[in-house]
């Protein structure tokens, strides 16, 4: 078993090493002086961070509610009403399954579905409202959502939030709910219990969910390609830079963009690991 794990480790290392061997440092330096590449790095960092923040904002309360609506909790709240218990459990499983859909859908399908959604009357009115908002906020260049920067964030968020919710649900499921019950007897309302007792215990899981959402957003390509397009210096993120370079026969440029993508991902993963370790040393669990 450990041999298979070792082979997988070697495979990952080889993938990175061959990329570094294919492109020289001068290629990397040259790419980093290209304003298109610099733009796509900045746009990737900004959109990934916003998508990850939105994902956590949705995932923390959703994960908490899903975790606390387990079989025991449903029974605790609804008592001895079998049909109501069964209905509540069915609804919980249904919601859980729906929230998993973005994880199992092919990325291109997510992109196409988003594109179709924003062709409906509701989608169009959201598009118009977004355009008006950005115009009011001093960004008249952003004309709605589709094929604009908000489309990148929405495409990344749609997939990343599903992973973040799963992570937060698992985190809260592993946290003992009895301190929360004691807090209720002390006079705390539900939100206070969540905020003061449950959430501080979920700190490492929240960091992990944020990192996962961020990394997932960084690697997102299919939905962005369909829903935001690949307009250079407009909606071009690192993953689309790789694609565009490859598409135009510039394999070296694609490899260099891949290396930048790998470097950014490694820096974020290492920083998160260090943050988690320092939190544990400081007494947070």
């Amino acid at each position: 078993m450990s041999g298979l794990g070792g082979l997988y480790l070697v495979l990952i290392i080889l993938l990175v090493v061959v990329d570094f061997q294919y492109a020289s440092w001068s290629d990397i330096r040259e790419s980093l002086s290209d304003e298109r590449v610099v733009f796509s790095i900045y746009l990737s960092l900004i959109t990934c961070s916003l998508a990850a923040i939105l994902s956590i904002w949705v995932a923390v309360p959703t994960g908490y509610v899903l975790a606390r609506l387990g079989r025991d909790a449903i029974q605790r709240h609804l008592g001895q009403k079998p049909w109501l218990n069964r209905l509540a459990q069915f609804l919980r499983h249904l919601v859980d399954t729906i929230l998993d859909i973005p994880i199992v859908l092919p990325p291109l399908v997510v992109g196409i579905s988003l594109l179709v959604l924003f062709q409906t009357p509701v989608g169009r009115s959201i598009d118009h409202a977004t355009q008006s908002f950005f115009s009011w906020a001093g960004f008249p260049g952003i004309r709605g959502i589709t094929y604009e920067i908000p489309a990148i964030i929405l495409a990344q968020f749609t997939v990343a939030a599903a992973f973040a919710i799963r992570t937060m649900r698992n985190t809260f499921e592993q946290i003992d709910d009895r301190p929360e019950l004691v807090a209720l007897t002390l006079g705390a309302r539900r939100f206070r219990v969540f905020h003061s007792v449950a959430l501080p215990q979920a700190w490492p899981g929240t960091v992990a969910a944020f990192t996962l959402a961020w990394a997932r957003s960084l690697g997102e390509f299919g939905p962005i390609l369909i829903f935001a397009g690949t307009a250079r210096m407009k909606t071009e993120v690192l993953s689309t830079t790789v694609y565009l370079n490859f598409q135009f026969g510039n394999l070296r440029g694609a490899v260099v963009a891949s290396l930048i993508l790998i470097s950014v991902a490694v820096v974020v993963l290492v920083a998160t690991r260090l943050l988690l370790l320092s939190g544990q040393k400081g007494g947070l669990r």
């Binding site: 029974q75 008592g79 009895r178 807090a183 007897t185 002390l186 006079g187 007792v197």
Partner: protein, 214 residues
């Protein structure tokens, strides 16, 4: 007077039916019974943590049967203390006072008073990790007493302690009861605890409660 009449609680396949219990004000009531007879389920229902199928619970003249746990004014010390893992001890004790928006000075004064009564002044700035079983029980007791509850429910508070700590906490419970003048419902299956602490003793037999001594 705490009055529980014809209480019925269901949990999965387990049911408690027709539970009746009356506790005079400021008494120290002991509820005994074998493991699995429903003592903890009953105490959780009194605290508002379990829905009841039938019956009523009165705290004084107030019918709290349908009140949420946060509105009941019942203090609860679970079996293994269950402290808040990420909160400092002094913050745990004043938690109930903070949610009641009590002034900071009054909170500090109450925390100091309880720390003095329970002998935990030296651990107020610590976190729960690394506290001994006895220290954890004292903190849980202080946290439940801080808001001066009408009823204090203790779920086997001495069961996980060694002999010498058990005797210390036992004397402490007597002192706390005398000083705080709170009605106590203490669950145990240890007859010695019942004799030492109880002013009134009940026993759960066949899911019914009978008074055995007072």
């Amino acid at each position: 007077m705490i009055r529980i009449s014809e209480l019925a609680i269901g949990q999965g396949d387990f049911r408690l039916e027709d539970v009746n219990l009356s506790l005079p004000d400021q008494c120290y009531a002991i509820l005994m019974g074998p493991t699995g007879c429903g003592k903890t389920t009953l105490i959780e229902a009194i605290c508002g943590l379990r829905p009841i199928c039938n019956g009523s619970i009165y705290l004084g003249n107030h019918n709290v049967t349908n009140q949420a746990a946060f509105d009941r004014n019942v203090g609860y010390v679970p079996q293994d203390s269950v402290l808040f893992p990420t909160m400092r001890i002094d913050h745990q004790i004043e938690f109930a006072l903070v949610v009641r928006k009590m002034a900071k000075n009054d909170r500090r004064q109450r925390v100091a008073e309880l720390a003095d009564l329970l002998g935990i002044g030296n651990i107020l700035k610590r976190f729960p990790q690394g506290l001994s079983g006895g220290e954890r029980q004292r903190v849980a007791l202080a946290r439940a007493l801080a808001f001066r509850p009408q009823l204090l429910c203790l779920d086997e508070p001495l069961s996980a302690l060694d002999a010498s700590t058990k005797s210390q906490i036992s004397s402490l419970l007597k002192r706390v009861h005398a000083q705080e003048k709170v009605t106590v419902l203490h669950i145990t299956h240890n007859p010695t605890e019942a004799v030492e602490l109880g002013t009134i003793v009940f026993r759960m037999v066949d899911q019914k409660i009978v008074q055995t001594s007072s």
